[in-house]
Amino acid sequence: MFIQILKKDLKRKKGMNLILFLLLIISSIFLAGGVNNLLLTMNAIDYFFKEANVSDFYIKTKGQGENEIRIEKWMEEMEAEGLIENVEKYPYLMIEKEDNSFDSPLYLCKIRKEQNLIFDTDNQPVDLKPGEIAIPVSQAEQKGIEPGDEIRFRAGEKEISLQVKSIVKDVLFGSPFVGFDAQYISEADFAMVENALSRKDGGITGYGISSSDISELERRFYNEGLPVFTTISQKELRTCYVMDMLFAVFLMIISICLLVISFVILRFSITFTLHEEFKEIGVMKAIGINSLAIRGIYLCKYFVLSVAGALSGAFFSIPFSDFMMGSIEKNVYMPKAQGNLWLCLACGGIIVLLVMLFCYICTGKIKRLMVIEAIKSGSNGERYGKSSPISLYKSGKLPALLFLAANDILSSKKKYIPLFISFIIGIIMIILPLNAVNTLKSDSVITLFGIAKSDVYITSHKEEAWIEDGDMNKMLADLEHMEEIYAREGIRVKLYSEVLYFPYVSSETNKDKSSIMATQAKNFDTENYRYLDGEPPKLSNELAMTALSAEELNVKMGDTVWLQFAEEKIPYILTATFESFNNLGYSIRLSETAETDLKYSAGFYDIQGNFQEGTDVEAAISKMREITPDYEIKNTRERIAVSLGGIIERLDEIKALIVFVVIVINSLVTILLCRTFLERDKGEIALLKSIGFSNGFLQAWQSIRIGMIQLISVFIGILFSYLLNDGMIQYTFGIMGTSQVELNIVPMEVYVGYPLLVLAGVLAAAYIAASGVKRFSVQKMNDME
């Protein structure tokens, strides 16, 4: 019997069942895809770290002389104490930008054999022969390098040409957040280049360390005050891949929203079906069929629908998941996805279970229904409250069409709740991620990297010489000279540079030394940066630090913090806190007048510059590129792209996907509900037709009320988004090390453009669905309640 009833139902309510089926498929795709991505990303990063045998601690030091000797001596001591199990040394050979065709300095190194291993795009270990070079994915993408390309450089007197053999997945330099670069060559080539380079102590050395007790080793390392360029622990390296995780979480949130919409629509369709079939239910009850058996008929139908939907969804979620994981897989060594199908099927199973549970609850009405009520179609003739809260004759000049649409919504609010919920969720699904995406894409996001926003960013490669000379005045003179060069060509630009240090930092309450990145801008007032709290550091003994650093050091505004650049500990007063993605949220900003010595600097940010007011920035930048072709000159957007790597592209993909999904879901929901409303309103439609209302009017009436609901939902959605913006987006950014981000809201795009796009989609769907009014004949008047 169940099969017969099911067949009849599926045939009779083709449209409604089809849309429910589609909604279930989409929910399954997103749920399975989201869970799959989240697990895969988490597993992939674990797997990648395991396969690459990531070192517990990584140290990078400048020079191959005394510094190297001190560090290696300390490591020997630690090894003797059993704190270090293994050390792998990675010398780097630096080739200046002007000496190579790579368009930025080359940091050549040998392939690592024991720790921090690299893999090619097929996840195979990389083996290089003389004449070959391997480039990490992020650099290859940034510079458009492909296997087979040639990279030329000069080492001493030698002209060398290497062919790119592989684009490699590099755990150490894979994430743009790590901020290190390296290129890999064979041992023979390394020896040849090393011999050819006259200056041996200008290089950099890295050490990969595996430890039996990493926290104790870190404590001992920081207390020793060794001359290091930078350090990164495995834990810190892992957080550099947090962006990949964020996208998976993002998908999960979308899938949960979609599931909520599916359940709202499911509830609506069950209630509608029960209402339509009240009489049949009454007759079945009257002839003695028990409630459970009647419920079974409905449960059977939704079981078939949900199983079919969930299975199809699970099937389609595999290519969807692959598509979403594509950009992660490019950079990360992922396990073979053998478990994917089972995981997707499990997610499908969860959806079936949830749907069945939900249907069981929704069909509970059948049990409570009295036979006589059911036979009377659930109506006892009583009506409470007025049906029309507004009046046509008091509506002024409002056209009859708009009045009817508005009156319908106000008279039967309950009927439209599923649409309101779906549309509001849809709008929130668009606004929140778009605000997050726009914030990440905005020019002001540059400040989150601890850099002040400026018009132009220049990499001149003078930095090495500045550090070598250790003379701050020389640096300032160079900047002045550059300004003069540009001024001669009519470009008035004020240049400044930020010097990076890695001093040991301690406080009254946290005496353990730890190394935190400190920056000092020269030729640039600290007032130009954005602060969370307090006053910008102005005096030589004042500093600002990120809220995370202050928390770590347990210091408040006005407390003293000690910085140790060389042997001496210098006290500073904390005057302000700020935000930064850089160094995973831990950094310090010194005042312009703080006494520092370039000898201890770890490097520089780009040289930054601001043009005279009224300058056409883009035109000036392109002229600067002509004047100084050897410099890398970027505008703010290009500079952000360097820091965020391929994330910007993925943000655009995610943005397009969200808008597409919301339009599709809203349109499906609209079509489904419009069709059911037509079915309910067929009597009134027939009546209006008979007294002379045209099909066009009736179609517009049905569509405009959906448009009105969408419009109201947009306002409610905006209100909710406004309330949720801070909490949700700040939480997301918080994962990346910032506690209070200034959101970049593009009102015309987010609050007008995209809602209008969704509204247009919904209106089009409603108009198409409402074309069903044409098929109603006046005889349908008899269906009026």
Partner: protein, 257 residues
């Protein structure tokens, strides 16, 4: 008197499961301006179909309907809707109204829709006319009520008001008293006769001899064809009604009623 409605060789065929059902077969008749014509006949003879087809609510299969010089069969659906909205009025057996509107709003809705375009009435004029109609039909006191808050008679009178709001040239009434008690039927027919006396043509379908007796002419339909028609002449006073009913009944008996 010139004809307001001229029906010629009207056919209506329904096709169901590849089987043809000829509901109307070459029906020809006319309704003059200001005339009240009743269509009678046994159940299933095609009375309502005839009413819906000549009023343009349903498509004709063949033949023509001339309405004040307009060939309804040649009009596009939107033009036909406009004719129905502005020049025709409709009253149905069931008092169909929009449930989310008050009685008053239901009445003025077609006029507000018809107001568009040049020469249309202002909303003030529409409201004045609606109130005048409601006073005449004695339903002004229920103007703001919901449709489920009034009696059947009041509701049917509201439907009559709605049908008259756009000053139609003809009223099509399908069993206008079919769902009403005797008193309410009497009141509704009183109103229809009054409207008719004021110059509006009326074409009504009825089973009720008392209702048909108040019309000028009765057309008898059997199996989709006009069997015969009987001219009763103008209904003047209530004193004549018994005689008219008697005459009509005996003619109907002859027709096999």
């Amino acid at each position: 008197m010139s004809s307001s409605l001229k029906v010629k060789d009207l056919c209506k065929t329904y096709v169901m499961d590849k089987r043809q059902n000829n509901v109307l077969k070459n029906v020809s008749f006319s309704v003059s301006e200001g005339e009240m014509v009743a269509i009678m006949g046994p159940s299933g003879s095609g009375k309502s179909t005839l009413l819906y087809t000549v009023s343009g609510m349903d498509k004709m299969t063949a033949g023509s309907v001339d309405f004040f010089g307009k060939d309804l069969s040649s009009l596009k659906p939107d033009e036909l809707s406009k004719v129905r909205l502005v020049e025709m009025g409709f009253i149905f057996q069931q008092m169909y109204m929009l449930k989310n509107l008050s009685i008053y709003d239901n009445i003025i809705l077609p006029a507000y829709q018809a107001e568009k375009g040049k020469g249309g009435r202002s909303r003030k004029e529409i409201n004045e006319q609606a109130q005048e109609l409601m006073r005449k039909l004695d339903i002004m006191q229920v103007a703001d009520n919901d449709i489920n808050e009034v009696s059947g008679g009041q509701l049917q009178r509201a439907c009559i008001c709605r049908s008259l709001i756009n000053h139609p040239k003809i009223i099509f009434a399908d069993e206008p008293t079919g769902s009403l008690n005797k008193q309410a039927s009497y009141e509704v027919m009183e109103e229809l006769n009054r409207i008719n006396r004021e110059g509006t043509s009326v074409l009504l379908v009825t089973h009720d001899v008392r209702v048909a007796a108040k019309s000028d002419r009765v057309v008898y339909l059997v199996d989709g064809k006009i069997e015969d028609e009987y001219k009763l002449g103008r209904f003047q006073t209530e004193q004549d009604i018994r005689e008219r009913e008697r005459i009509l009944s005996s003619w109907l008996m002859e027709m096999g009623w």
